[in-house]
């Protein structure tokens, strides 16, 4: 029988610091064993437990897309013991991972629909996975318009800057990048995500919204989506809670009778409304 | 009767709106036990009771109710805890109103349980006797034979610095020599002492009840919970259990009122008061300090005298 608590072995292929405050670092991991690589199938929105032996385990959303073969990307915010250890890992060192865990963005529902992606800060990781997936030649035709609104506090804190530049050039994707405070080199938008959303005012007709960001952003964005007449069932978000096992056993990540690790992390607004506010 | 006076005072405080709530003792479901009650209305004060089973140290709740003006029923030891907490600035002046009750010494429910065969279903106290009743027995027991060990050595049964004392002060006459437990323990050899400590702590399940019921354990982050630095692991390795109990006790140096709440709370029956008793004794002997007596004297480990003993230093 498979032991779901045993991490599979991966190795840090590449690592780079994303932001000017040096708090976010992206790790590109590759599998050490061929079978593991083959067996690992995931959908954007799922997460993994990364472990540094001796330090512990923590959950992270997968930032790469299933269409990017052979490796996995994670963007890690330096906050506690495990994340600090992950920041200090050198290229070539080993990492344990368990996953993919949790449900995923409802990609099948997006077929033939518009997709509005709203992201804030470093919660953009699984959204990047989703965007890269949707932009893949095989998948792009399956959905209609893709609109991405992405905000960060400062230009230096934006993730995946190179990719954002690429996306900006594309005609099949509408990308709006905004910052709370610009600097002298910043030519883009300045403004909070909810306000920018109001300004961009994408249609809610035939559209699914996927939103991920700090709680304060979510709190102010939901009402704007309501104004735009998005029905609750078509607003999806990904939640975060303290987790340990990632497979619905250890108990701590429940919201009501649902477990964020097992029944989530992706929920729609209609589901969230029914749950206690324990998050 | 003490109980009536407590109710009267509590009612008065609530009627005058001098406090937001009164914390006292009330009857609950099990015999030989009481429960902390939180009374907010004058009518509710009729549920307050007083007997020999009021074993909790209610001072622990001042942290939870730090946003309220609280009237609180205190025994001698509880009052001392509160004085110790006032030295550590844990509440605002005037925030607490202490209803002091001269304590008749509390009854150790476990000792009573052990004295009879079968479950005790009813218990009542009359004078010096406790009547306990089970399915197949009904006996009366002499109250004084079943007191908590911490109560037997108590030297401050009358609450000091209480805002009001209900009832007449009792005579301060410890039933046993002060620090009796610690003195007895000291007579053992170091090996025996360590073996005893080892055996007791080996039962620990790390429920931290001893910490949570202690009014003095209010650190925002206890050293056992700190992940960086990680002082000890969270498992049941004997060394970690011992580490926890050494530090939990030692952190009480000069702060413990000897109420015995830690030992009463332990579901595994671990002896704990002999640890803090030793610390209290040392502090008394070395620095002439007793917890919760003087409202001005700084806690002994946060001050010094030039002449402090130092014969142990090379």
């Amino acid at each position: 029988m498979k032991n779901p608590y045993l991490p599979i072995r991966m190795v840090v292929k590449k690592a780079h610091v994303e932001t000017t405050d040096r708090m976010l670092r992206t790790l590109e991991l590759s599998f050490l064993n061929e079978e593991d690589a083959k067996a690992f199938r995931f959908i954007p929105g799922q997460f993994c437990e990364l472990s540094v032996l001796g330090k512990g385990e923590a959950p992270f959303g997968i930032a790469s897309s299933p269409t990017e073969n052979g490796s996995l990307k994670f963007t890690i915010n330096k906050a506690g013991v495990v994340t600090t250890a992950l920041h200090h890992l050198e290229e070539g060192s080993e990492v344990g991972i368990r996953g993919p865990l949790g449900n995923a963005y409802p990609i099948d529902l997006f077929k033939g629909k518009n997709v509005l992606v709203i992201g804030g800060g470093f919660a953009f990781t699984t959204l990047r996975s989703l965007i890269v997936y949707l932009l893949h030649p095989e998948n792009r035709s399956k959905v209609n318009e893709i609109t991405v609104i992405y905000g960060a506090r400062m230009p230096g804190l934006l993730l995946y800057k190179e990719e954002l530049k690429e996306w900006e050039k594309r005609s099949d994707l509408k990308l709006v990048v905004t910052v709370d405070w610009g600097d002298k080199d910043w030519k883009g938008k300045v403004g909070l995500v909810p306000n920018v959303l109001e300004e961009v005012a994408p249609t809610s007709k035939n559209t699914y919204a996927v939103i991920c960001g700090p709680p304060i952003m979510i709190k102010f964005t939901f009402p704007k989506l309501m104004v735009l007449q998005f029905p609750d069932e078509r607003i999806y978000t990904s939640l975060e809670k303290r987790m340990k096992c990632g497979i619905g056993k250890c108990g701590r990540c429940n919201i009501g009778h649902l477990y964020v690790c097992k029944d989530g992390p992706v929920f729609n607004y209609a589901q969230l409304k029914k749950l206690p506010k324990d998050y | 009767m003490l109980q009536e006076k407590i109710r009267e005072k509590a009612k008065e405080l609530l009627e005058k709106k001098a406090v937001d709530l009164v914390i006292g003792f009330g009857e609950w479901t099990l015999p030989l036990r009481t429960t902390p009650l939180f009374i907010r209305t004058p009518e509710g004060t009729k549920n307050l009771i007083w007997n020999s089973f009021c074993e909790n140290n209610l001072a622990v709740y001042i942290h939870k109710f730090s946003q309220f003006k609280v009237g609180i029923v205190v025994k001698g030891c509880d009052a001392r805890s509160i004085t110790a907490l006032s030295l550590e600035k844990r509440f605002k002046p005037g925030q607490l109103f202490l209803i002091g009750v001269p304590c008749q010494r509390m009854v150790d429910r476990r000792k009573v349980n052990r004295a009879v065969k079968g479950e005790i279903l009813q218990a009542r106290e009359e004078g010096d006797l406790i009547y306990v009743k089970g399915e197949e027995f009904e006996v009366s027991l002499k109250r004084d034979d079943f007191l908590y060990s911490s109560c037997q050595v108590c030297t401050h049964r009358n609450p000091i610095h209480a805002d009001i004392l209900v009832g007449d002060p009792v005579e301060e006459s410890p039933l046993k020599e002060p620090y009796e437990e610690a003195k007895a323990f000291e007579k053992m050899s170091p090996e025996e002492r360590w073996r005893f400590f080892e055996k007791e702590t080996s039962r620990c399940i790390r429920c931290y009840a001893c910490r949570e019921v202690c009014p003095m354990c209010y650190c925002t982050e206890c050293f056992v919970d700190s992940s960086n630095p990680k002082w000890i692991e969270k498992g049941l390795s004997p060394s970690d259990l011992e580490f926890y109990h050494i530090v939990r006790a030692y952190h009480q140096t000069g702060r413990c009122s000897g109420c015995g709440a830690c030992e009463r709370a332990c579901p595994m029956g671990i002896r704990l008061t002999y640890l803090t008793q030793k610390l209290n004794r040392d502090v008394k002997e070395l620095y002439h300090f007793e917890t919760g007596i003087d409202t001005e004297a700084p806690p002994p480990l946060s001050t010094y005298e030039i002449e402090d003993k130092q014969d142990f230093i090379k």
Binding site: - | E191, W194, F197, D240, F243, I246, Y287, I313
Partner: protein
Amino acid sequence: MQNHWEPKILAFLCNWCSYAGADLAGTSRIQYPPNIRVIRVPCSGRINPLFILKALQSGIDGVLVSGCHPGDCHYLSGNYIGRRKSATLKRFLEYLGFEEGRVQFSWVSAAEGGKFSQVVNEVTQDIKKLGPAKRFGKKSVEF
């Protein structure tokens, strides 16, 4: 292999006196046993009892805490405060059953290189007499 056992002793030395004293002992070529590992702390008052316990748990056989003589503290009263902590902790540990001498204390000034070496000599002798610490140490992970 009992004969080859050498005690590991951890010394917490205050930055201003005892550490300088140890330095002086070194520069003056005064010999003392190599059993001590030194951790420099700002002041003997900085010693948290957790440090001592963690050391003992991690397999250290003895602990020495050394600071400035009374009246000489760089922070005026740190060593006095430390003295009370040391006194109560030492008594408490011995009460629990730790052997007398596992945890020792000294005053060593910056000028007392000789005293430092003498203290280390004494402490090492004491700990050697006591033998390896067995009571509290954590068993290392077995494979």
